[in-house]
Structure formats: C-alpha cells, structure tokens
C-alpha cells in the first residue's frame, strides 16, 4: 500500500470516528448576519408575544388557563425558531412559565419526562450507540455508499426508497428514525458533514430523511397510529369504511411524487450542494470506500451480536399486531426498545457500557418542553378552540363551491402541523371538524375527510412537530430555521399535490366527487 493510499484510509477512519462528534455534546454554530439579528431580536419578540397574548381579553369559548398555554407556547415557538437561547433552555422556560402562570399543573408538566416518547428517544440512542460502537453502522453506511453513493444524489434517493420500504412494516416513526440515525450520521460524515461542520449535503440528507420518515408514513394506512384513528373516525362519524388498498392506491403515488420532487429540489435549490460535497470527501473517492469496506473484513462477533439484538427489536416492532395472538400480551414499541437496550447494556452478554451510550440529554429536555406545550394545548381545550375559531373565521357556508372548501381544508390541515407536537392530537381534533363541516355542507364526509387524513403525517416543519424530528435534530447538523425553510417548501408542495390529486386521481378512485 502506498503512503497516499494509507493516508486516504486513515482519513476515512478519522471521518468515521463518531466518538469525535458525540450527540450529547452541544456544539457552537457559526451564524450568518441575518441569523445573528434574529437571535438578538428573538428574545424581546418572544416576550412581546407572551405579553400581548397573556393580556388580551379572554376570547369566548377559551379558558384563562388555555389562554396562558397559548401565550407560553407561542413565545416558545418564537424562541425555538429564532434561538436567542438554546432550544432546550426554551423548553425549560416553557415548562416553568406554564407552572408559574398556572396554565398546566406542575405534576403534569414534570410527568412528561416519564412519557413513552421520551423513553423511546433515550432507548433509541442507546441502541444507536451500540451500532456505532460495534462498527455495524459504519459497515452498513459504507455498503450503501459503495452501492449507491457514486454521487450524493443517488444516496439521497436510496434513503427515500429505504424510508418508503420501512414505513410499510414499522408504524412507529421514532423507531424508524432510530434504525436510520447511525447510518445517516456515518453517511453524512463520509460527505464531510458533522455537527461541528455542517454542510448542505448533510442538511439535505437529514431533512430528506425527516421527510421520508414522516410523510412516508402517509403512503400506507398502517403507516402511523394517527392514520388508523382517522380511518376510525371516517367510519364512525362519516359512515365510510376505508380499506388498506383504498388508502394505498390514493396516497402512495402522492407520496412517491412528493419524495421525488423533494429529492430533486433539495440539493439543487433549497440547500444547494456544491460540487465538492457531491462525492465522498476522501481522496480516491468511492474506490477508497470500497477498499475500506473490504478492509473491515468479515463481520465481527460484536457486529453479529449487535445485529441479533437490533434484529430482535425490529422484529418486535414489525410484528406488533401478532403479539397478542402469539405471546398472549402486547409488547409496545417502547418496551421492544427496552428489551434491546437491557440486553445491549447487560454485563458480559451485552456490548455497551453505560459511559459509551451517547444520549443527548439536552434533547430530552427539548422534547419534554415541546410535548408539555402540546399536551397542555390539548388538555386545556386551547387547541380545539384554535381550530374551531379558524374554521369559524373561514365562514364556510352552504352553497360554497366544493373545491374551494377542499382547498381550504387541505391547506389548513397541512399547515396546522406547525402548531402541534402530536399527530394523534391533531387527528383527534381536525378530522371530526372536517367531517362535521362536510355534513353541514351536505357533502359525503369521505370527500374531505380522507384527503385531510392524508395530510396527518406531513409533520415536517419544525423539530417539535414529531418524534423523529427531535431525534434527527439531536445531530446538530441543521438549525430550526433550516428545518422550517425546507419544511414550509415541502408542505406547500404537498398541499398543491393533494389539491391536484383531489381534482384528478382521487376523482378516478371515487374519493372526491366525480365528473358526472
């Protein structure tokens, strides 16, 4: 081996040494002038937001507790986006303000840290650390790069395909994020992106995965629990039974087109990937990657063990519907991850020591604040009041053209995700409203409710909007503003796609009113 070749392989080792980029470490970021001004003005802007909402007369139908929660949550949204203080500190302030102003009870606020979503995050990072430590993540990532990574665009497309495939089998989006996280981090490193030096390829990679994980779920009726709740509402309130294939034939093509558009516009327009980020940063490129993969040799016993542990967890996630009939009890997504984490950490049997588990606790606090805010909005009736007021303001009266109503419903449902932290809550509030509107206007509820249900999984605007978003945000490879920018672009595209589909494809399928 020549000195140059040895140096290239050493560089790969250096790039793939993820211990240098621990997720539990919060790096400082280099900011543009605009971002610095946003940060400077963000704090007073948040304070003014709070004061104006807190002191405004309590609107009809809203409790004063709900008003406090809206004021606090809106303030936190301003601070999460402008980042005058770290996002996890904003979360802590949100929780404290809700307690001090008695928007939500102290025990409820503190109890959020024990929620299954937080546990799932912790356990996902333990499992991810196991894959990184044993080099299994590196092997899979190198394999992907060698197979698809001639240029960055093909690796991005491969991830969209992978997400679409995983969504068919694993309904828990956080579980999918946990599976992909270590692989994405390694791939990002190979293209020069790290939390200390984020680049546009990394932004595309992480945010396209965030989109793939989330709206990829929209391709299948079983893609998320929220989809199933929507289907149950459409049956119980709207009287229409939706079958798996009804959903699949209608939504799958929309999702695929959305993924392809995102894949095309991301690196070209949203976060333009310069030529130097389009290929692996290692001198010698793909050949050296292949060489490195070869050098890794046969799969080690540690990797095999990690595969078995992770495979067991994935198997439990995939077979969740069979647990009751086979085992006599159900193992939830969290408990499946629990089993995996316990085995991984078990002395002598496992692979990981506690100090090797890279758990970003600042992220757990950030999640806690986001969930506490979202739950309080729901618990105080504030979310329902906001949605009801919004629909009232639209003043949809009988006789209005169906397509005007359709466009309004899709747009409102799609963009509403920015103010929610749970798909389930959004479904519980929105879908009954949409069905009620359809019934009031004399339409078949299916015409509006099913297309509205297709928007449920489009939770891509902010890190607080869904569990996978929080997990991916922990990598520090993109800012809240990056997430919002790409998220808003894709949400707009998704809205347009669903409107076009409503006017054409859904009509063919009989979901929206036909031409006759």
């Amino acid at each position: 081996m020549t000195a140059a070749a040895a140096s290239a392989l050493a560089k790969i080792d250096e790039i793939l040494d993820l211990s240098r980029n621990k997720l539990s470490h919060v790096p400082d970021k280099t900011l543009t002038a605009g971002e610095r001004w946003m940060r400077y003005l963000g704090f007073p802007l948040g304070v003014l937001t709070f004061l104006s909402l807190y002191y405004m007369p309590t609107p009809e139908g809203l409790t004063t507790g709900g008003q406090v929660v809206i004021a606090v949550f809106a303030t936190a949204l301003v601070w999460w986006i402008t980042e005058p203080i770290p996002t996890h500190v904003t979360s802590l302030m949100l929780m404290a303000l809700m307690v001090f102003f008695h928007g939500w009870g102290e025990s409820k606020v503190l109890g959020v840290l024990g929620f299954s979503v937080i546990w799932l995050n912790v356990l996902a990072f333990i499992l991810s650390s196991m894959l990184v430590k044993t080099n299994l993540a590196k092997r899979i990532a190198l394999g992907l790069i060698v197979r698809f990574g001639r240029t960055s665009k093909w690796i991005l497309l491969a991830f969209f395909g992978l997400n679409l495939m995983l969504a068919a089998f694993i309904p828990a989006t956080a579980a999918r994020a946990a599976i992909l996280l270590p692989i994405i981090i390694v791939v990002a490193s190979i293209y020069g992106a790290s939390n200390k030096h984020p680049n546009n390829f990394g932004r595309n990679l992480f945010l396209q995965n965030l989109q793939g994980i989330n709206f990829g779920s929209s391709a299948y009726m079983t893609g998320s629990n929220a989809n199933l709740i929507a289907v149950a509402f459409i049956l119980s309130m709207g009287g229409s039974r939706i079958y798996y294939t009804d959903w699949l034939f209608a939504s799958f093509p929309v999702v695929v087109v959305a993924m392809l558009i995102s894949w095309y516009i991301g690196p070209k327009f949203v976060f333009k990937v310069p030529p130097e980020q389009q290929t692996p940063v290692v001198e010698g490129g793909l050949e050296k990657m292949a060489e490195k993969l070869k050098e890794m040799g046969a799969v080690t016993p540690g990797e095999k063990k990690a595969s078995v542990i992770f495979g067991l967890v994935i198997m439990l996630w995939v077979t969740d519907k069979l647990h009751l009939s086979v085992l006599g009890f159900e193992i939830s997504a969290v408990m499946a991850a629990f089993i995996g984490a316990v085995i991984a950490l078990f002395p002598k049997i496992g692979l990981l020591k506690w100090n090797e588990a890279d758990i970003p606790w600042h992220l757990m606090l950030f999640s806690c604040g986001a969930y506490a805010g979202g739950l309080a909005l729901n618990d105080t009736g504030a979310a329902r009041w906001l949605v009801g007021t919004l629909f009232d303001q639209m003043n949809i009266q009988p006789g209005v053209n169906f397509w005007v109503v359709y466009c309004l419903v899709i747009t409102v449902n799609m963009f509403s995700h920015l103010f929610f932290t749970s798909k389930t809550m959004r479904t519980l509030i929105f879908i009954p409203f949409v069905i009620a509107i359809a019934q009031e206007l004399g339409y078949d509820p299916l015409w509006l409710a099913l297309p509205a249900a297709f928007t449920i999984d489009w939770v891509i605007g902010l890190p607080i909007n869904a569990k996978p978003n929080v997990i991916l945000f922990a990598t520090g490879q993109y800012s809240v503003l990056d997430n919002l920018k790409y998220g808003l672009i894709m949400t707009t595209i998704g809205t347009i796609l669903l409107i076009i589909a409503g006017l054409t494809w859904f009509r063919v399928l009989g979901i929206t009113p036909g031409w006759s």
């Binding site: 790096p27 709070f50 004061l51 309590t58 009809e60 008695h102 729901n378 519980l428």
Partner: protein, 262 residues
C-alpha cells in the same frame, strides 16, 4: 284454639298487606313514578348563577315527554333553598294538608323538588323553576393558589326518570372567567367522542361553564369541577417581561458579533 290460629293468620295477612303498601308507597315516592306521568324526561337543566356575595340562584328547567297530571319529584342538588318560584310551565308546587306550598320534600334523606303537573300539561311542555340558595359559594373556602377559586357541581339522578338530556351550568360572578375544568364525570375520552361534554363561554359579561350529558338512568351521577379567576391580570408579568426584554437587548449585544463555531 282454632279461633286463635285464624286470628294470627289474619294478623299476619294484615301485616303483610301493610308492609307491601308501605313498600310500594316508599318506592313510588323515591322513584317519583306515577301512573299519570311517563318515566322519561326529555330535558333536565339546572343552572346556578353565583352572585358577588356568594349567594346563588338556581334555575331548573324540565321538558316533559308526555302530558297529564302527576307528581314530578326532581332531584334538588343543594342543602337548602328559598323563594321558590315557578317561572313558567303547566305545574305547581305540591301543598301540605293546610294548603301551603311545599316546594321541597325529603325522600330517603335527600331533598327533592316537589312539583305536580297540571292535567292540561302536554308532551314537549317546559316547566321552569327558580330558587335562591343563600351562601352557596363560600369565597374563603373556595380560594385556591394562583388567585383562583374552585366550585364543584354534582348531580345525581335521584328521580325515577330516565333523563334523555342533562344540562348543568354555572354562571360566575361578574368579572370572573373559567380558568379550567379539571374534572368531569363521566370522564371525557377524546378518542371515543371528539366533542368534549363541557363548554365555557361568556354571557352578559359573566363567565359560564356548561356540562351536557345524555341518557341518564336513575342513580347515574354527573360532576363538573370548575376553577375560575378574575379576568383582570396583575401588572407584575408586564413589568418583569419588559424589564427582561430591555436587559437582554442591553447585555446580549455581543450576539451580533460574528463568531466561529467550535
């Protein structure tokens, strides 16, 4: 000997008949069911209007499902009441042997509103009754942290009627607004019913809370806990908030300086 046996038999029979009669009477009273009235009420509504001094006024409204004369014994969810008035509807209060109106009657230890419907009462007719409940809201006892007050409304269907619709409302003193509804019974499950059973609002400048329940069997219970607070907010958050905003702008000017990520 034989005469004695017959006498015992007759006495036992008399006791049995008397016992049966008492049981039927008590049962009939407790359940409020008479031959003339149906065992269903379309609507039962009970609104409590709290005054500034803690005295309350209760308004009860019932909608009949069938006409005719008969006893209308309705649950009265308060320990006492005065100034009972029938505001409207084909009914009068029951009277004692002297002919004096007896709006309340104690049955099995519980107070019941004691009404008699008129013979010309028809299905769909509405009967509205009003009463004063002095000292119902005890300001100091109801005081909670954060400047809030708590009230609790309970309704147990001690009538014998099946209630198709129950409405239970509270109108708060002037200048008060509902802060939260911490508990309702039956518990509300959004997954089963997307519409919450309670609503808050403002009527004539007064904060209101309203609970709706349907299909209440005799002995079914309904409850609504309400936290409320003055609508006016103190100035401290405004002063502290503005001070923090100004201090941030003064002491965090270095945020505007370019920095290199570490």
């Amino acid at each position: 000997m034989r005469a004695r046996r017959v006498a015992i038999l007759l006495a036992l029979t008399a006791v049995s008949i008397l016992t049966l009669f008492v049981l039927v009477l008590i049962d009939g009273e407790a359940l409020g069911a008479t031959a003339a009235l149906p065992d269903t009420l379309a609507v039962y509504e009970e609104n409590v209007l709290i005054g500034p001094d803690g005295d309350a006024q209760v308004e009860v409204r019932v909608v009949l499902t069938e006409g005719g004369s008969g006893d209308l014994l309705l649950p009265f969810s308060f320990v006492d009441g005065h100034d009972f008035t029938i505001l409207s509807g084909p009914a009068r209060f029951a009277a004692d042997e002297t002919g004096a109106a007896q709006p309340l009657r104690r049955v099995l230890g519980h107070l019941m509103l004691n009404l008699i419907t008129d013979p010309m009462a028809r299905a769909g007719d509405e009967v509205r009754v009003q009463a004063a409940i002095p000292g119902w809201f005890q300001v100091e006892e109801s005081r909670r942290p954060y400047g809030e007050f708590a009230v609790r409304r309970d309704f147990v269907n001690r009538s014998g009627f099946f209630l198709r619709e129950l409405h239970m409302g509270v109108r708060l003193p002037d200048g008060m607004r509902v802060h939260a509804i911490p508990k309702v019974v039956p518990a509300y499950d959004a997954k089963k019913n997307p519409q919450p059973p309670f609503a808050v609002g403002v009527v004539d400048g007064h904060g209101t809370a309203h609970l709706t329940a349907a299909n209440l069997q005799p002995a079914d219970a309904v409850r609504m806990d309400i936290l409320f607070r003055p609508v006016r907010r103190g100035p401290i958050p405004l002063i502290v908030g503005l001070a923090l905003a100004v201090l941030y702008l003064l002491f965090f000017r270095d945020v505007l300086k370019p920095t290199e990520g570490k």
